[in-house]
């Protein structure tokens, strides 16, 4: 091939790296997870957790604001289609050659388009690091979009759309987003529609790459068998070929509308699947952690949650019932889900609504708060048990602007929450009269949330 990575590597090896910040994270013992900020000679920044336990490296990265919400009208599914094609041939390698190098060297490179961001992940053995970085660079800067690959990936996306058309969870989710987001880009399906996916042209995909993948919206998290000194040149190699600036449309802020109704999508299933949502809370809100603790107690805490206790343990109405806080860049929602046999889904929803009201009006007890805190703080280190978790967390920390010392401070944020905080936030946030619920199945009787 035309370009020699080896030469490039050596050239950058002399580059300086700057250790701008270092934060330690102690988890109860002498061990600590240290997050280093590395800035390459070419000015590319990454956060790094060094871990030499195994000869493995994970690099997670995100192009902020380059997700499916930027798909132009009529070209829905564009970001998603690029995410499926960008690792299907690049430079002078067609798809089979490119994928053959990946697979035979055990390199995993994958991309994903969310509503807000376009993300990627590289996992490699130390032994194959050079090839891995070369493939990553080529995928970002010289994707081919050959006809064969485009039609093949298009067929896979269409197959996925067909499956989603009858999958109860996907049906509920699509209907929910459409219902609460109206005309906003968030209302549209990330994967697009049959029409738009079939209509996407290679030029559309190239437009996306040119406008969306740049150094000014790039966030990188690295974990594994590499030193800060080695990482600098790697960053320049992998990401240095990207243009300086992205040209992304601004996604408008939106207040989702929750009508307080239950919509039913008929499907001949023995069990009805429900999802619901109401207004949420921003990640940056001063009350986020109070809401986080409240949600853990209400429906986030598995067997320890009130919803599981009331719906599953006491009444046997469902295998799983849960709630969670979801955050998009321009909107926040508190969501939940349950699946119950058709003749009892109404009962499940009414029990859940009861818990929603009870939490809103009466809040929680000190014991519940203590238990929630001991779980949320104690379980935090369990996230540090695989490299993929670590690098992903480093991207999230930067994306949400949580600070390089977040791992160190996070449990303090949880511990600072008081009973009054939770009860006040429960009263303000929970809004059982303004919940939009979607039920897929053949529910019996009148449903209300």
């Amino acid at each position: 091939m035309a370009f020699s990575l080896k030469t490039k590597s050596r050239q950058f090896a002399a580059g300086l790296i700057a250790l701008v910040g270092v934060a330690g994270f102690g988890i109860g013992t002498a061990q600590a997870v240290e997050v280093q900020e590395v800035i390459s000679k070419g000015g590319i920044k990454a956060w790094l957790i060094e871990d030499h336990l195994n000869p493995l490296l994970t690099v997670d990265f995100s192009f902020k604001g380059a997700g499916a919400a930027t798909d132009p009208d009529g070209k829905l599914g564009r970001a998603n289609m690029v995410s499926g094609l960008i690792d299907e041939g690049a430079g002078d390698m067609d798809s089979q050659t490119f994928r053959g190098q990946m697979e035979n060297k055990s390199i995993s490179l994958s991309y994903d388009a969310g509503r807000d961001d376009f993300t990627g992940s590289l996992v490699t053995l130390t032994r194959e690091r050079e090839t891995a970085v070369k493939l990553l660079k080529l995928s970002l800067t010289k994707p081919r979009f050959d006809d064969e690959a485009v039609e093949r990936i298009r067929s896979q996306i269409v197959a996925g759309l067909k499956q989603e058309e009858t999958d109860p969870g996907s049906m509920a989710q699509r209907a929910f987003f459409k219902s609460v987001f109206g005309d906003h880009p968030y209302a549209r399906p990330v994967e697009g529609t049959f029409d738009t996916v079939n209509g996407l042209k290679v030029a559309d995909l190239r437009d996306f790459v040119k406008q969306s993948l740049a150094r000014d919206n790039l966030i990188i998290g690295v974990a594994g068998d590499i030193t800060a000194k080695e990482l600098g040149p790697l960053l320049d190699d992998a990401f240095g070929g990207l243009p300086e600036h992205s040209k992304l449309p601004k996604i408008p802020a939106v207040t989702p509308k929750f009508g307080g109704d239950v919509k039913v999508i008929a499907q001949d299933n023995p069990q009805s699947q429900a999802m619901w949502g109401q207004k949420g809370i921003a990640r940056k809100d001063k009350d986020f952690y109070a809401a986080y603790v409240m949600n853990y107690i209400l429906g986030g805490g598995g067997f320890s949650s009130r919803l599981t206790e009331e719906v599953r343990e006491k009444r046997g109405l469902a295998y799983g019932v849960y709630s969670y806080l979801a955050n998009l860049d321009q909107a926040n929602i508190m969501m939940g889900g349950v699946a119950t046999r058709n003749d009892a889904i109404g009962k499940s929803l009414s029990v859940i609504r009861g818990e929603w009201q009870k939490m809103q009006q009466k809040g929680i007890s000190q014991t519940e708060l203590d238990n929630a805190k001991s779980y949320l703080t104690g379980a935090f280190p369990l996230r540090f048990t695989s490299l993929g978790n670590l690098s992903g967390m480093l991207v999230g920390m930067q994306s949400e602007d949580l600070g390089i010392d977040f791992l160190d401070k996070r449990n303090d944020y949880v511990n600072a929450i008081t009973l009054d905080d939770v009860n006040r936030v429960a009263g303000e946030l929970l809004d059982p009269d303004h919940v939009t619920a979607i039920v897929v199945g053949k529910p019996e009787g009148k449903l209300t949330f």
Binding site: V33, G84, E191, Y319, Y322, R341, Y375, P381, L382
Partner: protein
């Protein structure tokens, strides 16, 4: 990019309680590795395995029981999995449902899973709480207390679980029918979750009988991975588990499959099918059966034939012939009895299933006739060996691989020697094993179809809101 799967908005923190492990339609290539475990046996016969990993001050603690759905008495299908749920319903010291709450209050996560061959329980928790979870796990190994008051609602829960996993999902329903057709006599043909009409009849007495029969330290394996040494672990294991008095367990008698003479075909046509697909299962040896020496060659064969986007099936059916959107193979040789070797393929729009199946058959016939090449073997072997390195990275992955192997009757050495076995595989062994196993007479082919005249896939669709009714 994700396709053929449900996309969640944001990451949904759904830790659905009490998982049931189902057959995954993916090659389990990362299953074995060199974990360098240490082992010992307690005075009452309980096996102990440790994999040290000092990345974070946490441990995975697992107890595996050598009893699963294939050990059930006919007519009580689902009892192994039901008991797994009921193990969270308390003892005289721990109230119903308290087990998981206590673990959570101590910053831990817990769950359990059941397969045909075993039932396993685990907690991930800070190392200084290991003694606490051992004490609770040892307690429920001997002191489970069940009453109808907690058992009957939980029976409703497992029935909802069945509806969610299987009855609401035509693809899962077809898989259930196919397995039942593949295993004409062996209990592997039974769904782990149980047949609905039998689940509805399961009682507290059935559950206690199952518990008393199989739950004893000499039928259990303790597997710990994480920030602890054997010098620390052994005395704790003796303290909490070593004093439990064991009892004899019955021999696990599994009936054998008779000679099979005819390929079977199962077709499920269901309006809830959005995307048609097909798959085929063949009876295959496991590391425990006759012809176990074919297992490693078959792992290599599956890697070559159907793992990844440069495999033979994907390259031929998807890239070159453009008949399928995706295609691949799967094979998992870790089982007490016979395993399954399988293929799957999803047709592109406008491709008839019969044409896709014919092309699949042609490619398999060609591969069997011509055999694989030395280059393919070398590449596949390297990929499989590399998978062992990735497997080491996860705390729970090491514990699961070792626990599963021991629970189905393999040894730690067999896990640790897996790279050697893979390395020793020859082209001839792969070709011989593939030719022996891919015998249509021992196969079931399944088609998952949309009804004729159903709203055309790929056609413009009405907006989702147009399909809604408001009640």
């Amino acid at each position: 990019m994700k396709f053929l799967s449900q996309r969640f908005w944001h990451h949904v923190p759904v830790v659905l309680p009490v998982l049931m492990m189902v057959l995954v339609l993916l090659a389990a290539s990362a299953r074995a590795a060199v974990f360098n475990p240490e082992t010992t046996t307690l005075s009452n016969g309980m096996q102990v395995v440790l994999v040290e990993n000092h990345r974070a001050p946490v441990v995975t603690h697992m107890v595996w029981y050598k009893a699963g759905a294939a050990d059930e008495v006919p007519g009580t299908s689902g009892i192994a999995h039901f008991l797994e749920h009921l193990m969270f319903k308390g003892t005289k010291d721990i109230g119903p449902g308290e087990f998981s709450k206590i673990v959570a209050r101590n910053g831990g996560q817990d769950n359990a899973f059941t397969t045909w061959d075993y039932t396993a329980y685990f907690q991930n928790i800070a190392r200084d709480r290991l003694g606490m979870v051992m004490e609770m796990e040892a307690d429920r190994m001997q002191n489970l207390q069940l009453t109808d008051k907690v058992v009957l609602p939980e029976r409703d829960v497992i029935i909802e679980e069945r509806r969610m996993r299987t009855d609401n999902n035509p693809s899962a329903l077809l898989g259930e029918q196919m397995r039942n057709a593949l295993f004409m006599q062996h209990p592997y043909g039974r769904p782990i979750i149980g047949w609905l009409h039998e689940m509805q009849q399961l009682t507290t007495q059935d559950a206690m009988a199952w518990y008393k029969k199989w739950y004893t330290p000499n039928n259990a394996i303790l597997v710990v991975a994480g920030d602890i040494t054997m010098a620390e672990l052994k005395p704790m294991a003796e303290k909490y588990y070593g004093g439990i008095k064991g009892h004899d367990v019955p021999k696990r008698v599994r009936v054998k499959e008779p000679t099979q003479h005819a390929p079977r075909k199962v077709t499920l046509t269901d309006a809830r099918v959005g995307q048609s697909s097909m798959s085929r299962y063949y009876l295959a040896p496991s590391y425990n059966t006759e012809h176990a020496d074919e297992a490693a060659p078959l792992e290599v064969f599956s890697e070559i034939l159907g793992s990844g986007t440069t495999s033979r099936l994907y390259k031929t059916l998807v890239v070159d012939q453009k008949l399928a959107t995706t295609a691949g193979s799967f094979y998992d040789p870790v089982a007490m009895d016979l395993s399954t070797f399988g293929f799957y393929a999803v047709p592109r729009d406008g491709v008839e299933m019969a044409d896709l199946e014919a092309a699949l058959d042609d490619e398999i016939a060609k591969t069997l006739k011509e055999g694989i090449t030395q280059k393919e073997l070398d590449e596949a072997r390297q990929r499989l060996l590399d998978s062992a390195v990735f497997a080491r990275d996860s705390l729970s992955g090491a514990a699961r691989t070792l626990g599963e192997a021991l629970a189905v009757g393999l040894s730690v050495d067999q896990v640790e020697n897996w790279p050697d076995r893979i390395n020793a595989v020859t082209v001839e062994q792969v070709n011989d094993a593939a030719r022996a196993v891919l015998d249509d007479k021992r196969s079931v082919t399944g088609w998952l179809l949309r009804p004729k005249g159903a709203k055309g896939p790929g056609m413009p669709t009405a907006p989702v809101t147009g399909e809604m009714e408001t009640h």
